[in-house]
């Protein structure tokens, strides 16, 4: 019963929050709502016994990602009201409701799956974090390492793109200008 109450409560909250994210014209509201929605989602993770995931959700999303977005917002000066020209609303609403209805229709039907064997069962008496660690560092070691590379890529990319290197475009400059620019750098 508690589970049901919790589910519906958080479901309502997340939906509401995310709805605000996509509809509000205040960027700050959107950001806040997104952060709140993320936290509510972590609640689901806790309900579902994925404690580690819930923690990660809060730390990574609400902590890191939201902070990044906040910086971004400040940078872009979007704290004011965002004016968006809207094209045909019917297309948007129509398409998304259709998509939702279609999938919901199917998901409302019970799955008849059999033959499902838990490959990496949650072991009784072992904490979620421990179990996750076990799987993560055996079976999913390679994806984990690759994820590290991915983060490295993202980091390098972020630095390259946001850094000073992109300020002057060599692509658009003539050879002579490039030389000039180089000399300037050496001199300074």
């Amino acid at each position: 019963m508690f589970e049901a109450v919790a589910f519906y409560l958080f479901a309502f909250l997340t939906i509401a929050m995310f709805f605000i994210v996509v509809t509000t014209s205040q960027a700050l509201y959107a950001l806040t709502a997104l952060a709140a929605g993320m936290i509510f989602i972590s609640a689901f993770f806790f309900i579902l016994g994925a404690d580690f995931l819930g923690a990660v959700q809060i730390i990574v999303y609400t902590g890191a990602v939201m902070a990044l977005y906040a910086f971004g917002m400040m940078f872009f000066d979007t704290t004011r009201e965002v004016k968006e020209k809207q094209g045909n609303k019917y297309i948007i609403v129509g398409l998304s409701t259709l998509a939702a209805i279609l999938v919901v229709v199917i998901f409302a039907a019970p799955m008849m799956s059999e033959n499902i064997v838990a490959l990496y069962p949650a072991i009784d008496g072992v904490g979620n974090t421990q179990a996750v660690g076990l799987v993560l560092f055996t079976k999913y070691l390679i994806p984990f390492e690759l994820a590290a590379i991915m983060l490295l890529v993202a980091m390098v990319a972020g630095i390259v793109l946001a850094g000073k290197k992109m300020d002057l475009s060599i692509t658009l400059m003539h050879e002579a200008e490039i030389e000039e620019e180089k000399n300037k750098k050496v001199l300074s």
């Binding site: 094209g87 297309i91 948007i92 398409l95 998304s96 259709l98 998509a99 279609l102 999938v103 229709v105 199917i106």
Partner: protein, 639 residues
């Protein structure tokens, strides 16, 4: 003897090639002389061959080389000299020798002197192939070859629009007939397996009459074109645009008789299908009358002679159609002589009258041109069939043949036509040589032709006068080859017929003289009563047949061609192709707006794609899940 065969055949070719070397150079007299000599050589060889055949020699048959051989088809260049072909060879070489010599004088001042001889000799060569070939394909080579040379010679003065037009008309009309001939050849090949005369003739006896009829009809269509039989006759009169020697050689003596030759050559075929023969005879008779009627009023000297040629060709076909092949051949031979004579005489007149053709503008030329006058009169007498000139013997035999075959209508018409013939020929003579000297009105100073031209014409004069005596030896010669027989009519009847015919002819001549050989004759100006009568108009306009051809065949053809090009080819066929390409291109042009470049639109497209896939999935998934129910439902609906 083969040697002479080859000489007779190839001397004209050599002559032609020799002359053609000089086509681009100014006039060289020696080309004319050389050509005449070579043609004469051919004549001599032909004469030797004739002697050989007359002496009862076996027909000479040579096969020079293979022409075409594929599948079961085998066509060699084979030549045969038998009674029929040797007669034709004689006619061809004799007339052409005369014409060659004559042309040296006639074409004296012409720029294209050398070219003329090249064409003329080429014609002789083609004609020789035509008559000497031992198979239908070879005959067809000559057939087309003479057509080509006729085209070149009619259009010899190619700066004249009328000449080139006439040349093309002649060629195309002949082509129409050639198609018939070609089909005839195909029929012969697929039914007998060969195009050789002897092989084909032998096989004809085994064929059903239907097939033979078709063969006969198609071959005769070919003959109709070349011999200008109705309805393909209009080209012949127009062909008079060519130089007169050409008219004499091609359009009187030789080429136009090729059709007759074809029928005679295929007599073994036609004797198996008498109903076709009767048709030929009827058509010939009709043409005889039809052409003679047009000759009555025509005001163009050469055209009158041309119509008379047509008319005489009708006689020949009448004879051939009735099975009297030897008579046809004999008439062909005699006709070649006197008709060439007439043409050449007319050529002299033209020459002296500065190419004036209207006999009404002449008159009284007898004084100036005595030699020509004699020749023309003799030629006309022969044409009219007055005893004892050549025409009498040949034409009279045709009438006999018609009579003895009980074809009274044919007989009657031919007899009547004989009268017409006499009338129009002497109308011409009277207008040209007798009466007032009307030419003076036009400031012309006529003069007699070169003497050597007259001398050159003399062999023809001899033929015109004395060919009659050759009838018996000729009959003996061809008796076997053509399965000939004399026509025996009761003596009394024959005498009555003879006298009657001669009287009729004589009256016609007298009437012609009376009407045209007097001082009252003036140049018609289109005001006289006669000129406005319906009959006159009908005749002078050639029964409106050329007009009808122009209006109902040529023009529609031209317009249809234009429609095919402008409307069908460009607007339908091509436009369809371009249209397909255009549709593809414009679809691209129209739908490229999908690529608006706006990210939001792009994202919407993606979602739309997903939703599309999902809807398909749901529909399909539901259908799969409830397939049983759907099937029951459908079956309940009776699907």
């Amino acid at each position: 003897m083969e040697k002479y065969l080859y000489i007779a055949l190839f001397a004209p070719l050599v002559s032609s090639l020799f002359s053609s070397l000089f086509t681009a150079t100014p006039k060289k007299l020696f080309t004319g002389i050389m050509a005449s000599l070579l043609i004469f050589t051919s004549l001599v060889s032909s004469t030797i061959l004739l002697m050989y055949i007359l002496k009862g020699g076996e027909p000479i048959h040579v096969t020079m080389m293979t022409w075409m051989a594929t599948g079961d088809l085998y066509i060699p260049f084979g030549f045969v000299v038998d009674q029929i072909s040797v007669t034709m060879m004689m006619v061809v070489t004799l007339v052409s020798t005369v014409v060659h010599v004559y042309a040296i004088g006639y074409m004296d001042h012409d720029k294209g002197f050398n070219r003329f001889f090249a064409w003329l000799s080429a014609f002789v060569f083609s004609m020789m192939i035509l008559v000497m070939s031992d198979n239908y394909a070879g005959l067809f080579i000559g057939w087309e070859g003479v057509g080509l040379c006729s085209w070149g010679l009619i259009g010899f003065w190619f700066h004249k629009e009328s000449a080139t037009w006439a040349a093309n008309e002649a060629f195309i009309m002949n082509r129409i007939a050639d198609l018939g001939m070609l089909i005839g050849l195909f029929l012969i090949y697929w039914n007998t397996g060969t195009l050789q005369y002897d092989g084909a003739f032998a096989a004809f006896h085994q064929l059903p009459t239907d097939t033979l009829t078709w063969i006969g009809v198609f071959l005769f269509i070919g003959a109709m074109g070349k011999s200008a039989q109705f309805p393909l006759h209009t080209w012949l009169a127009d062909a008079m645009e060519g130089p007169t020697p050409v008219s004499a050689l091609i359009h009187a003596a030789t080429m136009v008789t090729a059709g007759v030759y074809l029928v005679i050559r295929s007599h073994e075929l036609y004797s198996l299908i008498p109903h076709v023969g009767l048709f030929i005879a009827s058509l010939g008779t009709f043409v005889a009358l039809f052409a003679a009627s047009m000759a009555l009023v025509n005001r163009d000297m050469k055209r009158v002679i041309a119509y008379s040629t047509l008319s005489q060709l009708g006689y020949m076909f009448a004879a051939a159609g009735l099975g009297a092949y030897w008579v046809a051949l004999f008439h062909l031979m005699a006709h070649a002589g006197f008709k060439a004579l007439l043409f050449l005489g007319a050529g002299n007149v033209m020459h002296s009258m500065h190419d004036e053709l209207d006999p009404f503008k002449m008159g009284g030329l007898k004084k100036v041109m005595k030699g020509t006058w004699i020749m023309m009169v003799v030629g006309s007498l022969a044409l009219a069939g007055v005893i004892p000139f050549a025409g009498f013997f040949s034409k009279d035999t045709i009438l006999e043949a018609a009579y003895s075959g009980n074809h009274m209508v044919i007989y009657g018409v031919l007899l009547f036509t004989a009268g017409l013939t006499a009338f129009y020929s002497f109308r011409l003579v009277a207008l040209i040589f007798h009466g007032e000297e009307r030419y003076k009105l036009f400031g012309i100073h006529p003069h007699e032709a070169y003497r050597f031209m007259l001398w050159a014409m003399s062999p023809l004069l001899l033929v015109a006068i004395g060919a009659g005596i050759l009838q018996t030896p000729f009959f003996d010669m061809v008796e076997e080859a053509l399965n000939a027989h004399e026509y025996h009519i009761a003596h009394g009847t024959a005498l009555i017929m003879l006298v009657g015919t001669q009287m009729f002819v004589g009256l016609a001549i007298l009437y012609a003289y009376k009407k045209y050989a007097n001082s009252r004759v003036t140049v018609p100006d289109g005001t006289s009563k006669m000129e406005n009568s319906f009959a006159y108009k009908l005749l002078i306009n050639q029964y409106y047949i050329p007009y009808a051809y122009e209006e109902y065949l040529v023009k529609p053809y031209r317009e249809l061609s234009e429609v095919f090009w402008q409307k069908v080819d460009l607007k339908i066929v091509d436009a369809t192709v371009d249209g397909i390409a255009g549709i593809i291109y414009s679809t691209g042009e129209k739908t490229r707006v999908m690529q608006s470049g706006n990210l939001s639109t792009m994202l919407k497209w993606m979602v739309a794609g997903l939703v599309g896939l999902l809807s398909l999935a749901v529909i399909f998934g539901l259908a799969a899940r409830y397939s049983d129910e759907i099937l029951t439902f459908l079956s309940a609906l009776g699907v």
